[in-house]
């Protein structure tokens, strides 16, 4: 019997005999996530983190102290009853664990994988506080993923109420939209999702790579929507194919949820950005993911530069994903150039860790000044400046200041810009009367209602580039408000 299994049996015995004391729980070692070897995974696109075994999951779950105040729950944007589902896992009641999670989150297999837990639920965890190390908190996300994965291939199809005769249009098919569609459909409305791309799922399919979030998981959730009777119309660009106004006035939709995301890529506005070999992370990841450039020549048609030496600019999840994708597409050297220090990187800790393991060369406190080209207009290098941290700026982070005369050149043939995205402008431009803020995000009230009657919005188009779980939370809030609004109209 493995050591883990022996430990679990001992703990179970102890529990039967009279329960576990906090000291018993603190003594359980935090369970590491099984993962593909770094050297191996660099050359495949399969998922890196492979998920807990049953024994590991139960051991990890037993580390939870069942705090009365459950501070972890405060850290979760959708207020999952964490200690209850964790207890269910400790007891081997995986179905029940999943049912508890699903009360608040429709996509546990996704959130368990991509939530920035270390700044949400796990940051608040008492166990982590005790060890003064958020890495040693109860691994809530991994347990959430375990519960979802254990449920097997076919997630349950939620009950749908009797038809109300009301029609709801959901624009975009990202996580916020999936939740909004499910919740309004559950109330008995006729629901149609309109997606501009040829595949539904939003950033979860065209942005976040396969090795972090397998497409099959997202597809399963889309299939559940279809089984609930939600109609999904792809290649439909709202604002162009039909406007929001037309959907409501001519096509009979009684309410609309706008979840079109923040997809407009920012560039640095430095010399050389038009050179061949400079990509936005969106373009690079879309070509790699949605159009499967990694299969180029084997059925996929989308070309992507064959890069040997790549510089990725930025320090968020998008930058990590681009850097690790470049490695998988065959780059020999990948630099990650970030102008602040590692502490300020907005990426999930696990991704930073995985990127380093895979050999991404972190160049912190550096920033490009210009991109150099050769005679054919291809990228031939990048001139950078070194930075140091100065006084804190308005965001409270110490401002990076360039060091004069510190120029040096990185030898690269590809530059991927991952410094952020702005709001998608199309809906704003084509929907008169829809209030936007100065960055082009849609303005909503606490119920996610916009300035137009019957029109609700959520996710990145409201929050700016945010997270999957926040988008889902808004999708849920908006759906509740839509259901209330439509009931009042009856």
């Amino acid at each position: 019997m493995s050591d883990d299994r022996t430990l679990l049996n001992e703990l179970l015995e102890k529990q039967k005999a009279g329960g576990l004391k906090p000291s018993d729980r603190y003594a359980i070692p935090p369970q590491p996530m099984p993962a593909q070897e770094a050297s191996e995974r660099r050359s495949n696109i399969s998922e890196v983190a492979q998920g807990y075994t049953e024994t590991q999951a139960r051991l990890e779950a037993m580390r939870c102290l069942q705090c009365k105040t459950a501070p972890c729950m405060e850290g979760c944007p959708v207020r999952i009853r964490i200690k209850d589902f964790v207890t269910a896992i400790a007891e081997g009641q995986y179905g029940e664990a999943l049912a508890i999670i699903k009360e608040n989150s429709l996509l546990p297999a996704v959130c368990g994988r991509v939530c920035p837990q270390e700044v949400q639920c796990q940051e608040k965890c008492t166990v982590g506080k005790k060890f003064k190390d958020v890495d040693k908190a109860v691994a809530i996300g991994r347990l959430e993923r375990f519960a979802a994965d254990r449920a097997g291939a076919a997630p349950a199809v939620p009950q749908v109420a009797a038809p109300t005769g009301k029609k709801v249009a959901i624009i975009g098919s990202g996580p916020g939209s999936i939740v909004a569609a499910a919740d309004t459909r559950r109330a008995g409305h006729e629901v149609t999702v309109f997606e501009a791309f040829h595949k539904p799922g939003g950033v979860m399919v065209y942005g976040i790579p396969e090795f972090r979030l397998p497409k099959a998981i997202v597809q399963q959730e889309i299939d559940v929507l279809k089984q609930m009777g939600v109609e999904i119309v792809c290649n439909f660009v709202v604002g162009r194919t039909r406007t929001v106004d037309q959907l409501m006035k001519d096509d009979g939709f009684d309410a609309v949820y706008v979840g079109v995301g923040a997809g407009l890529p920012s560039f640095m506005n430095i010399p050389g950005e038009h050179l061949i070999g400079v990509y936005s992370a969106n373009e690079y990841l879309t070509r790699a993911n949605l159009m499967k450039a990694y299969n180029f020549g084997k059925g996929a048609d989308t070309p992507i530069a064959v890069s040997k030496r790549v510089a990725v600019l930025g320090g968020g999840n998008v930058a990590m994903d681009a850097a690790r994708t470049a490695l998988r597409l065959g780059a020999e050297k990948v630099y990650l150039v970030y102008r602040r220090s590692e502490k300020e990187m907005p990426a999930r800790l696990e991704e930073v860790h995985h990127a380093k393991e895979e050999g991404v060369d972190f160049r912190i406190l550096q920033n490009p000044k210009r991109i150099l080209g050769n005679g054919d207009g291809n990228v031939a290098g990048m001139e950078c400046l070194k930075y140091e941290l100065g006084e804190p700026d308005s965001s409270g982070r110490r401002r990076p200041v360039p060091i004069e005369g510190s120029e040096f050149t990185l030898d690269v043939d590809t530059v991927i810009v991952a410094i952020g995205n702005g709001a998608n402008p199309l809906i704003g431009q084509t929907t008169p009367g829809l209030e936007l803020n100065k960055w082009g995000n849609i303005v909503v009230d606490e119920k996610c209602k916009t300035s137009l009657e019957g029109v609700y919005a959520g996710g990145d188009i409201v929050l700016g580039a945010a997270t999957v779980i926040l988008a889902m939370g808004q999708g849920r809030t908006a759906a509740a408000a839509i259901n209330e609004y439509l009931a009042s109209k009856a």
Binding site: H198, R240, F267, H274, T286, M291, N295, T302, N424
Partner: protein, 284 residues
């Protein structure tokens, strides 16, 4: 939604036209707009093509395309009754059409296709329309009859003199710009190099000039930045800010370089698809 091909014709050695079912697009489209087409649903490139016309009663749109690479060849191999994987649109901003007075419309090669609905729209708005159609050789002059049907004046030029005048489009364009009164507007659509020289010609006469840019595109909805161009010193996205721009402000040199970005890889894909390869006029 199924996009059935209801008619298809070959216009020249490498140029084809089809009418395909896309009722919502047919209804919403305006001159100057385009669609993104996918031959299949899963793998495959997203191909931007101008909407050359539409029949709202039949619910069809008309596409005219040149076989240049793998995806456009696959399209050329489709038969009447077969379907396209998807048709998304209409995309881009519609052309600003009003009665300007006299408008000179210059089409180069396959550029005649996107030019057609715009030139016709200008005529319908009451303009005097002078059309200049150019191509390398006789076989490559497309849509001449359709332009002849509404143009007040039609000038055809070929590089080798096999049809119409032996000249580049810029020659008659300069003559027309030199007339009194000069045209109120020029619209030039064709290979980037042609548009560049048309703009240099009209600049001398201070004739405002619109061009429609055919950059590389991925999503066509403003999400990737792959279609970016420099206009008036600023970065613009062709799919959402265009495809039409003030030609006197466009940096064509950068655009031409970016267009060649994927040439090598695409040639590989195309050669794998078919032994022969063919590219006329579109970017060189």
């Amino acid at each position: 939604m199924s996009h059935r091909i209801v008619s298809k014709k070959q216009l020249s050695e490498h140029v084809f036209t089809m009418e395909v079912e896309a009722p919502l697009v047919a209804q919403a489209r305006r001159p100057g707009q385009f669609v993104i087409v996918g031959v299949s649903d899963d793998y495959g490139e997203r191909i931007p093509l101008t909407i050359a016309g539409a029949d709202t009663a039949k619910g069809t749109i008309r596409l005219i395309w040149q076989r240049v690479g793998k995806s456009t060849s696959e399209m050329a191999d489709l038969k009447i009754g077969e379907t396209l994987g998807y048709v998304a649109g209409p995309l881009g901003k519609p052309t600003h059409i009003e009665n300007f007075g006299t408008v000179v419309c210059i089409g180069g090669g396959i550029g005649n296709a996107p030019l057609l609905p715009i030139a016709r729209g200008m005529k319908e708005a009451g303009n005097t329309v002078i059309s200049i159609l150019g191509a390398r050789t006789k076989e490559l002059v497309i849509l001449e009859d359709e332009f002849a049907a509404f143009s007040d004046e039609l000038i055809v030029v070929t590089d080798d003199g096999s049809h119409g005048r032996k000249a580049l489009v810029t020659e008659p364009l300069a003559e027309i710009c030199g007339r009194d009164p000069k045209p109120a507007l020029a619209v030039a659509i064709g290979p980037a190099i042609m548009m560049k020289f048309c703009c240099e010609t009209t600049r001398k006469f201070a004739v405002p000039t619109q061009v429609s840019l055919n950059t590389i595109m991925v999503d066509g909805t403003g999400m990737c930045g792959g279609c970016r161009v420099e206009v008036g010193g600023q970065t613009k996205f062709v799919c959402v800010d265009g495809p039409e721009f003030d030609g006197h402000e466009v940096n064509f040199d950068i655009m031409m370089k970016r267009l060649s970005a994927y040439r090598n890889l695409e040639q590989k894909a195309h050669e794998a698809y078919k032994q022969h390869r063919c590219r006329i006029g579109l970017n060189d």
